[in-house]
């Protein structure tokens, strides 16, 4: 058991830190929340800068143009990017962390060479068309129909929770191609160009008041059979490739960010007046913050453990569901602590004092985390059944 970064990791960190310091000032300014074109522009500009500097696709293999970084270098990458407050993946989330890895694992050569370099350069933005109004936790019951007509599939249906749909070029889409087969056996994974006639994007307003998510209405949308990834009716297995990525790596930068936020919260608590002292003088509150810090430390070490196991065995361990479940519930408790520290300042999403509005916005945002990508209840079922071997 060794927690020291290697000399190579430290060299990588130093180089990356120097590059970020030079690159950040060249980035377009942050846009308002609802200016989706500007958000796309900023995130894809950053992606292009990463690409030109050789940092794009940090976890992608070198053969497809990625960095092919070791797992420990990936952790270093997320630490540095987050601590420097450089953009995270943003609108490139699905392309880099879901669709891209799925294409790498499952797609034909023509599909890979068509899309992977474009995703890495920030030229293509992807979204995800998996969930439906009637297919949430029970995703495999999805009903969006695709009927073969010559060289096309003709698709009609309704997707929901599609992030960044309004600025996406492509959608990784799950459709039902065999309605009579058992539900897991009749699903196909398709690449849907978002400018295809019949695709209607309707933004969905979240509790944040903004429109990260959209609904997709698909009305006789024609997608070439050549856009299918994997075999017809084998889409569930293809989709599972994506899920392991979704639960594995995508929380890492969230977690680094949470550690930074907790440090910020302590700073705020030390200046917010409470009674005769500050919020930090409240022993009960302070202990709960210390408790949360211990849990975050432990989770970060658990990530290192999971990553080390994956590096040694080649497969991600059982850690992914455990980290997902624990982290998402913890970050909500930290959000509650922030609201208690802020007291009346929590009534405003605008800053009442330094960053106070950001804490309130975060408290709302993290409500989604215990629901998205497999709800906490689904994670507990997975842990109970697949790890502990309990009967269904």
């Amino acid at each position: 058991m060794d927690l020291l970064w290697s000399d190579e990791d430290e060299r990588f960190r130093a180089e990356l830190r120097a590059w970020i310091a030079g690159a950040l000032p060249q980035l377009p300014p942050e846009s308002t929340r609802e200016d989706w074109q500007a958000r796309r522009h900023r995130d894809t500009t950053w992606q292009r800068m990463l690409h030109d500097a050789g940092y794009a696709g940090i976890n992608w293999p070198v053969e497809v143009g990625g960095r092919g970084a070791s797992l420990s270098e990936q952790l270093v990458f997320y630490e540095e990017i987050t601590n420097a407050r450089a953009p995270n993946v943003g609108v490139n989330f699905v392309g880099l962390l879901h669709a891209g890895p799925t294409l790498i694992a499952e797609a034909a050569e023509a599909q890979r060479s068509r899309h992977l370099p474009a995703i890495l350069r920030g030229d293509e933005v992807w979204c995800q068309g998996f969930s439906e109004p009637e297919a949430g936790s029970d995703l495999a019951s999805l009903r969006t129909r695709a009927v073969r007509d010559g060289d096309d599939y003709v698709i009609t249906g309704h997707k929901i929770w599609t992030s960044f749909a309004q600025v996406s070029d492509y959608c990784e889409l799950l459709v039902r191609t065999h309605p009579d087969a058992p539900k897991h056996k009749g699903i196909t994974w398709l690449i849907l160009p978002m400018d295809t006639p019949g695709v209607d994007v309707r933004p969905l307003r979240t509790v944040l008041g903004s429109s990260e998510f959209s609904e997709l209405y698909l009305d006789e949308v024609r997608v070439p059979v050549a856009n299918r990834v994997g075999a017809e009716n084998d889409g569930w297995r293809v989709a599972m490739v994506t899920f392991s990525f979704e639960r594995g790596t995508s929380l890492v930068s969230e977690m680094v960010e949470a550690r930074r936020q907790l440090d910020e919260l302590v700073k705020v608590a030390k200046v917010v007046e409470r009674g005769r002292g500050t919020a930090w003088d409240d022993t009960g509150l302070r202990r709960e913050i210390g408790h949360a810090a211990a849990e975050l430390d432990a989770l970060w070490n658990m990530v290192k453990r999971t990553v080390s196991e994956a590096a040694r065995t080649g497969v991600p361990g059982v850690g992914a569901s455990v980290v997902k479940l624990y982290y998402t519930e913890l970050i909500q408790r930290i959000g509650d602590l922030a609201m208690r520290v802020l007291d009346r300042a929590s009534l405003s999403l605008d800053d009442v004092y330094d960053h106070s509005g950001h804490f309130v916005e975060e408290r709302l945002r993290v409500l989604a985390l215990t629901i998205a990508a497999g709800s906490s209840q689904i994670q507990r079922n997975i842990i109970g059944e697949r790890i502990l071997g309990l009967p269904r």
Partner: protein, 322 residues
Amino acid sequence: MDFTLSSDQEALQEAVRKLCEGRFPIGRVRAMADVGGVDRTLWRELADAGVFSLRLSEDEGGAGLGMAEAALVFEELGRALVPGPLVWTHLAAGLIRGAAEGDTVVGGLQRQDEPFLVEHPDVIDVLVAVDDDGLWEVDRSRLSARPVSWPLDPLTPVHVAGGLLRGERRGVPGDAARWRMEGAVLTGAFLLGMAGALTEMSVAYAKERQQFDKAIGSFQAIKHLLADMFVRTEVARAAVYAAAVHLDEPALGPPARAVSGAKLLAGEAATLNAKTATQVHGGMGFTWEVDVHLYLKRAWVLDVAFGTGDMHADTVATLIDD
């Protein structure tokens, strides 16, 4: 960075687990309540296996191993619920004659306000008190103490004592600080092993116990309790192993935050898992016959050894912006 067990560490873990399964089956552990929690023959077997001496150098008769290995050993001892002042005797190895060899059973306590409770009073040969000024060997014969007829944990007999004499100095303040941290991590490791054993016990029971014509483990209300037990244990594991590694590797920085986090989370994992295990076992969980209560009581005993959860949470908090 490779935060997995080396093959040597896996072999050590396996060996101690085998030893515990062979020599400390739960029936024998229960019977040790009649001998004050320590059976001298078995105590020497633990010593022969290196439980007390493993961190001493080879010149001193040890194995030259670190806290990481010691934590793995204590996790296994906790899994088997081995009674006795194991942590104190381990800490005293190399300092108190005969501790490493299993000839001297060393007990200990943190000097605190009176009255205070001395654990395993009838079986310890030496009592060490830890305070901010150092380590002190206390003459037990001069303690005014009265036995508790009914200790919380039947395997942790206690005396209530008043008036702790200063004793003979056995260490400087730096030694005391080190004992506190190492003691917290080893106790945390023991609690971690207990948390894991409780999860396994409860999962096995939930697969076997039938109600409404089904194994109760198929009900989500039970399944989710068990999933949380597993998750809590794994989080505590990451914390305990990391704290041990921090104590072994000074280049990682001051270990206090990792140590306090480990003790806090391991104590919670064991106590919460024991309470959940009681619930999962239903009425049987409330009986003397089922082993769960022995784990719950020990978890409570150890949760207030080497610092309470509240104290450690406060310590982590004060170290956040350091």
